[in-house]
Amino acid sequence: MLCESCGKNPVTTHVKTIINGKLTEYLLCAECAQRLGYGNLLTELGCNYGSLLGEFFGEAERTDSVRCQCCGSSFNDIVRSGKVGCAECYHTFYDRLIPLIQRIHGDTNHRGKVPGGSMLRKPPQEQLSLMRRELREAIRTENFEQAANLRDRIKELEGGNSHG
């Protein structure tokens, strides 16, 4: 692959910049990288390039020796890119990520599905209460066909309960 700037030399440097949350990528040869100011990229990255999320997360700690065993990310990498490297990162950096996650989502926990816990296997009581709510809504909006259907399904479930 040839350098995107000069179009002559092979690519040696892959530059990703995130400015105001917009990701731009350049594939450059060593010469052009130097010329365009990406020569000492490794030392500059830490202070010059920040994403929106990076700013949101606050200033990253500059010295960071802990790296995720699965993907090699440091906590700085995550803050800088606004992207978590892999599922394992959530464990590796749990204590440091939690305050950031709370700043995004507020002090709350996951309340939705647990893997394998399909709606079909939800306790019948929970399904029933959901369906009764839908039934009320269907009647309120005069959607009688849907209401009749729901009523039948609720009857079925209730019937199942009395036998079980």
Binding site: I104, H110, R111, K113, P115
Partner: protein, 338 residues
Amino acid sequence: MDDLRENGSEQDVVIRTRIHLTRNLRDIPFPSKMNRTDRLTLVHKAMDAVEENKALSHILRYMDMGSLSKTEAVSLVERYLVSAEFISDCEGRGVFITDDESMSIMVNEEDHIHIQSSLWGLNLENAYQKADILDDLLNRSLHFAFDKDLGYLTQNPVKLGTGMRASLILHLPALRGSGGIVRISSNLSKLGLSLRGVFETGEDSKGAVYQLSNQVTFGISEQEAIANLKSIATQLIHQERALWEELAEKPEIQDTVSRSLAILQSAKMMAYDEFLQLASNVRFGISVGLIGDIRSDQLNRLIIAMQPATLTLRSGKKLTQNERRILRANQVRDLLYK
């Protein structure tokens, strides 16, 4: 899965319901950290997961994005089977699609696995149930990354939680005409919902087709998110319908509807943008009872099928822009002219 009701309600306003689930695997880096080998490993794992399960292998077929032509790839976006971002870099990406195109699984999008289910009309519960079952079946072999406090783990921490995005495609010509969309849209964003034009250029939303979807995935269950979305959608539907009666009595509106139908029934060449606007007018005419012998669902399908790449793909040959416009006008005439 076949016994679920496929036909949703409120089809005069709601064109389509879509449920989208974002999932990742534990032992492979997230996409921004993936190399080519990781992408291929994930594709193979997904293929194995589908093949191991007869319920899945019977209904899903795989397409390697890297081997598709530009037209084929764009058509997948037009048919809402993959995202526009997905085809910007097709290398090492793939998609599983059911024959009826109601479900798809993108592999290697912004997160590892994107499950999508869509149905016509307002049909959130059934669409969710289908995606939910697909999610469970895939999870048996892929063991999605999950934390009991954080929910499904995602590359972007903003998307943690259920990983569920529920969307409704709405046709809101009267609300758009009344200039109410901007106000509604800003109010909805305060409620954690978004309303935006589907065929958008700048401020203008062509054809008055909008997408209403939930933004919040954390601290709320799938059922609650769906119930919220449904309740807001119901209000929007009522607001839209409340304007109809008065509009339908205006001669100018009746004229626009009749002229739009006449053009669709007689034009010899038609650009997609023009088609979309005319179809929107006619769809409105059907909804308010000004047009009786055409059904909204026929137009819904045309709105998808008449898009440039999909039209070209189904013609089976390369078409110039003019040839496309001629073919589009022919097909629209055939369907609408009695």
